[in-house]
Symmetry: C2
Subunit: 170 residues, 2 copies
C-alpha cells in the first residue's frame, strides 16, 4: 500500500496534480496498526495501549492533576478515573490529595511504574519493528524525535483557550 514516494526527496507535483501532503490520515492509519500489534504484546503484562500512553505522558511531563492529564490525553475526565484506577491498583501510579487544594488529586508515576513502563517499551520493540519495518534505524530515530517534539506544547493551552473564549476554533 501507499506506493511511490521512495526515499525522502520531496516529490514535485505534476502540473495538474495538486499533491496534498497531509499527515492526518497517515497518522491514524499507522497508529491503528501500532495499537493492534501492541495489544497482544502488552496483554501478558496486564496493560493496554492506553495505559502506556498515560504512563508515557506522566513520565515526560511529570506529576499533574487528573484534569490536566485528561487535557493532555484529550480524554474525558470520567474516563481518566477508570484508567487511573487500573494503574493505581497495579501500583504503577499514585494519587494523593493536593495540600493546596484538597479537591485535587496529584497523579504521579511510582518507582514500580517507571520500571514497568520501561519493560513494556522493551516488549513493544518487536511490534514497533513490524509496523516501522520500512524505515531504517536512523529514520526511526528521526520519526521519534519529530513525534516527540510535535507532542510538546500540547492542547492544554488550547483547552484553556476554549474555556476562556468559546469562539476560538481549536
Amino acid at each position: 500500500m501507499f506506493r511511490g514516494g521512495g526515499k525522502l526527496g520531496h516529490m514535485t507535483a505534476g502540473p495538474g496534480e495538486h499533491r496534498e501532503r497531509r499527515s492526518g490520515a497517515l497518522l491514524e492509519f499507522l497508529a491503528r496498526r501500532m495499537r493492534l500489534r501492541s495489544e497482544s504484546v502488552l496483554a501478558p503484562l496486564g496493560l493496554r495501549p492506553r495505559h502506556l500512553v498515560a504512563l508515557t505522558v506522566l513520565r515526560e511531563a511529570g506529576e499533574m492533576s487528573q484534569q490536566a492529564l485528561a487535557g493532555s490525553l484529550q480524554l474525558d475526565g470520567t474516563n481518566v478515573v477508570g484508567l487511573l484506577n487500573d494503574l493505581e491498583t497495579a501500583d504503577l501510579v499514585e494519587r494523593r490529595r493536593s495540600p493546596e487544594d484538597r479537591r485535587r488529586h496529584v497523579v504521579s508515576l511510582t518507582e514500580h511504574g517507571t520500571k514497568r513502563l520501561n519493560e513494556a517499551e522493551c516488549a513493544l520493540a518487536s511490534a514497533e519493528d513490524d509496523v516501522l519495518a520500512a524505515l531504517d534505524p536512523v529514520e526511526r530515530d528521526t520519526l521519534y524525535d519529530l513525534l516527540r517534539r510535535a507532542s510538546s506544547g500540547g492542547p492544554a493551552t488550547c483547552t484553556e483557550a476554549i474555556r476562556d473564549n468559546p469562539d476560538v476554533l481549536c
Copy 2:
C-alpha cells in the same frame, strides 16, 4: 507536555537512564489529537476521520477488493461494509463485481471522490497546523514522508502470512 528533546539531535542517554525511544505511544497520542481536531472540521463535509483514511488508502493503493481494504485498514470486514455504504451513498466510491470472481466487489475512488478527498485535505490544513504547531514546514514535510514510507508494505502481506501460517506472530 513532553518537555526536552529540542531540535533533532539524538539525545545521548545518561549513565543509568535507560532511554527508550519508542514511537508507539506518541503515535497514538498524536493520532488522537488529530482525530478530535479533524472531526469538527470534517463534519460540515459529511465525513468522519475514518472515511478520510479509507479514501486515502484507495487513492494511494488504487482499487482493491473489500477484503484487501479491510486488511489494509486492519479493520474487520463487517465494518468495511458500513464504511463503504457511507462512501458509496455519497458517490465517493464505487463497488462493482469482479468479472474474474463474481464473489468479489472491486472498490475504487470515483472522480467525485478524488475531488472531495482533496477538498477535505485542504479543510484539514488548520487542524494539522494546530496539532503539528511545534514543527516547522520542513519538519512537517519530513514527518509526512516518514509516515508515508512507513505505511508502505502494509499488513496485507502480514495478514496473508497469518492465513498461510497461523503460528506466525504478526
